[in-house]
């Protein structure tokens, strides 16, 4: 990795962490309450991020300015089993 890449990664990571903290997603109750349907902040946060990113990504791609990233591979059993294990951890300790 070049120095430029490291600096950019740091800055973008800071943006990511800042957004997570300000949405309150660093706290246990915010994460677990989405599974109790008493506080949907996680879903609101994720879906807004998806919409904004989709709009930006596909507009820029349509203008021919950027390439679409390589999407994660779909292996239904792996994705599903991983998600099932992941959900237990996420709901139990809220991270």
């Amino acid at each position: 990795m070049s120095v430029a890449q490291i600096i950019i990664a740091l800055v973008l990571g800071i943006g990511f962490g800042f957004a997570l903290q300000k949405a309150g997603l660093t706290q246990y109750h915010k994460i677990v309450n989405v599974f109790r349907f008493t506080d949907l902040a996680v879903l609101k946060f994720m879906m807004t991020a998806l919409i904004v990113a989709m709009a930006g990504l596909f507009s820029l791609n349509g203008l021919g300015l950027i390439d679409l990233p390589v999407p994660p591979q779909t292996h239904i059993v792996g994705n599903l089993l991983g998600g099932l294990v992941f959900g237990v951890g996420m709901s139990l300790v809220g991270i």
Binding site: Y28, G78, N79
Partner: protein, 184 residues
């Protein structure tokens, strides 16, 4: 301008504003990936732990890493884009708390944890350790976590993201039911 700074300093943003910031970060990552012509530049967090561990193992036994299929085909060991970004996430989270003057070191999470699991610090740390193992193992199996798979994959409508989210919510709700029982 004063209002904007005032909003930035608020303890909690609307999730829609914070989500927009993450969406913007995701678009910028795609731009950077195009500029450097490097498809490994992506949004994600869980893979960084594997890369760090792989990099450390490489110092001790490089042969083992060289032969390991996972570190050859799935995730590169050592200092990758995700590792640097993970460090940035920590810094960004701390900056977020500092900006609202709520930054402090704590042994225990919020009130709701104590209501569900009691006041014991040992319980908290043991459960977090076990929970984090499940998270990392699950993310490794699925090929990403909430950010790397659900968001980065979801924004391209990759089926993997939605299969993962379905699984995550199924057991997440079940676990919350078991923990909270009547108070669910």
């Amino acid at each position: 301008m004063k209002q904007i700074i005032g909003y930035i300093r608020k303890d909690q943003w609307s999730p829609y504003v914070a989500g927009s910031l993450l969406g913007l970060v995701a678009v910028l990552i795609a731009v950077v990936s195009t500029v450097f012509r490097d498809p490994s530049i992506a949004l994600g967090a869980s893979g960084a732990f594997e890369s760090i561990l792989g990099g450390l193992t490489q110092l001790v036994s490089p042969d083992w890493i060289a032969k390991n299929l996972y570190f050859k085909a799935v995730r590169l060991p050592g200092l990758t884009w995700e590792v640097v970004m993970l460090f940035g996430i920590f810094v960004g989270g701390a900056l977020g708390a500092i900006s609202s003057r709520t930054w402090k070191l704590r042994w225990m999470p919020d009130k709701q944890w104590a209501e569900a699991f009691g006041q014991s610090r040992v319980t908290r740390w043991v459960l977090v350790f076990l929970g984090a193992i499940l998270l990392e193992y699950g993310a490794g199996m699925a090929g990403g976590c909430t950010s790397g798979l659900a968001i980065w994959g979801g924004l391209q409508l990759a089926p993997a993201a939605f299969v993962f989210m379905g699984g995550m919510f199924a057991t997440g709700i079940l676990t919350a039911l078991l923990v909270y029982r009547r108070r669910y």
